[in-house]
Subunit: 426 residues, 2 copies
Amino acid sequence: MEFQAVKGTRDFYPEQMALRNWLTETWRRVSIRNGFVEFDAPIIEYLDLFRVKSGDEIVSQLFSFTDRGGRELALRPEITPTLARMVNARIHSLPRPIKWFSIPRLFRAENPQRGRLREFFQWNVDIIGSGETLADAECIFTAVDLLAEVGLTPQDVAVRIGSRPLTVAALRRVGVQEAGMEAALAALDKRPNLSAEDFARLAAEAGIAPEGLAQLCAFQDAGDLQAAAEALGGGKEVEEETAKLRALMEQLGHMGAGEYCRLDLRIVRGLAYYTGVVYEIHDAGGRLRAIAGGGRYDNLLEVLGGPEVGATGFGMGDVVLTILLAEKHKLPDVSARLDCFVVSAAPGLGPAVLEVVGALRRRGVVADYSFKRTSLSRQLKEANRRRADYAVIVRADGLAVKDLRTGQQREVCREELLADPGRHLS
Amino acid sequence: MEFQAVKGTRDFYPEQMALRNWLTETWRRVSIRNGFVEFDAPIIEYLDLFRVKSGDEIVSQLFSFTDRGGRELALRPEITPTLARMVNARIHSLPRPIKWFSIPRLFRAENPQRGRLREFFQWNVDIIGSGETLADAECIFTAVDLLAEVGLTPQDVAVRIGSRPLTVAALRRVGVQEAGMEAALAALDKRPNLSAEDFARLAAEAGIAPEGLAQLCAFQDAGDLQAAAEALGGGKEVEEETAKLRALMEQLGHMGAGEYCRLDLRIVRGLAYYTGVVYEIHDAGGRLRAIAGGGRYDNLLEVLGGPEVGATGFGMGDVVLTILLAEKHKLPDVSARLDCFVVSAAPGLGPAVLEVVGALRRRGVVADYSFKRTSLSRQLKEANRRRADYAVIVRADGLAVKDLRTGQQREVCREELLADPGRHLS
């Protein structure tokens, strides 16, 4: 009878867990210093919450089941619908802007692929209650702050920033109607991964007339906002949206994130609900899946029964980021260490060892000892294996502290050690 | 269209999330200082993993579903089978004793009650690879270290320690056969919550002969090990087991946890898999469900396909502990604070504010600012609402730092502030 982890999920042995904790803590620290507060929610939600946001097709992409009361439940595949549900429930009492982050565990009932698992973690950073481009800049800056914090430079990664309204304008201009917009956006979203021929085929399937393709590509491939606006033939809405993008890029520049960010109108995002700026973070080589993706979604709270309110944010998964950090040798050494390992120098000192261990731990010292009554040298060997900085040696007539990195050893008075362990064990 | 959280689950708004993080971090810190390392595993496991450990009846108590490949999966209701699975997979390479902790999110398909939810967190502390009572003492000490750390005293809580082998011996002595042992243990486990009459009825249903009840209760109610051994009529196994319990209590005393711990042979634990010492932590009044429960389970790894190896540990849920801490006013103030709020003293300084905010955050300062261009006094009001310690005031001709707790304000050179923000903002 041998059991394994379910395919597409991960066991976190202590070495993997330490890395996961490092990443989680880094996400948390960066979020907090950018003025966000953390929330979370149940992993189980009513299936309808996801249906309302994403339509019936989502059902095949998530784990769902029925509880004993006959209710259809699902494991959350993303946190945004939950965020909207929670904010809607307190929309009149929460001071705005609402700056929330979360590090949810998420589930997808898909076949696992490189960079895409069935169970994973995703850092989510959102601002609700502001329509200002400053709120978009704030989210993007927070993502960049994280990238810099983990040692990724503008040579390693880039935030590629596009515009949903400009993309929609470009599609309208080549004759795509409202009813066909979602399919057309989904096709455009795939363009960067397709050859020109394959894209042309997909675009035709999605109802984009072949004679519009060149114009569409001219817009998407525009090197700057001026060229993009010209490709769209100008007009009030185009001017407004390009002005917003220009302001956003300036704000990111002021905050010191400009080097990481660049305009890229090929960024579309597959999901239907974006209403403004959209962006993805990619490795510079573009070999991996997106590290993060996000944008403005001003309608979602309303769709879920709340008011019309500005909302913007992104999600960054743990899987692709960790692959990139491993490739770049940017993962830290997170091996477990002990402050000290308490050893006995002679038989019969077990109770004294326990007293010292208990007292040190209660004072916050990371301390351990051997359950086995072995020789002093074997205990010191275990101390080294456990990566203890110090050994505290318990003798019949007192204590000694040995620095295991230098080999230096000296007597200490027991009361002094316990009164101020930090002074003797550092 | 209004959505709510699924019954028996919890939304963690920022104030609840901060408390959850505080508890999680405290569990983690106490585990680490006691020499444990953290692991985790998927929330989804093969249903059979739980069936093998707990039998078919477990299936109705957990959330299960079938994936697209037709595999029966379940949301974990506990982490111990997963722990055994993971340790078994590396049993030959992991140095022993294996001291692991985990803070898993767990799920039960039950009707929620006070102190018992369908989704919750549970701190698990386990030692595998040691049959010594020191390993049991180590786990219990770690639990006590946590209780003391969160401010609970021996007047608030107690670790009540029983013995599965002595309880089994007592049941054998009154005629219970191996085949009836599990049912008899389950009945005894319920005794503390029942009247004498109700217990007698339940015991009869579980196959305990009425004439044995007085003897059984005399054993369970024994005030010390001597009396318990006498109630069992002595014998080699009884002597060995009482000697182990005595050693355990002494070890806990040496470590400084004695005041929290007491012998209580009415502690049985419902689960079949315990093989040695068993214990529960209860509030002193005994009004709430158990705060924690655990014991020795030397057979579990073998049942799950591994070797016969000593194993011991406990689980402590977040729900009952949090109820008790709230009642005792021991929950800390975890409201979010900012190190500083950056405000502009005049229109047109938006870019300068963004520059200062970005630079401070990159240096680790928890900094925020207002998206709205409002008056200085309104911005300072927002700084106070956000609980900022300082306001950094951006003027056309330089910066000032205002201590929002004292009202003191002084000019600072921008370069100096950014070079060493800690000196100016603390």
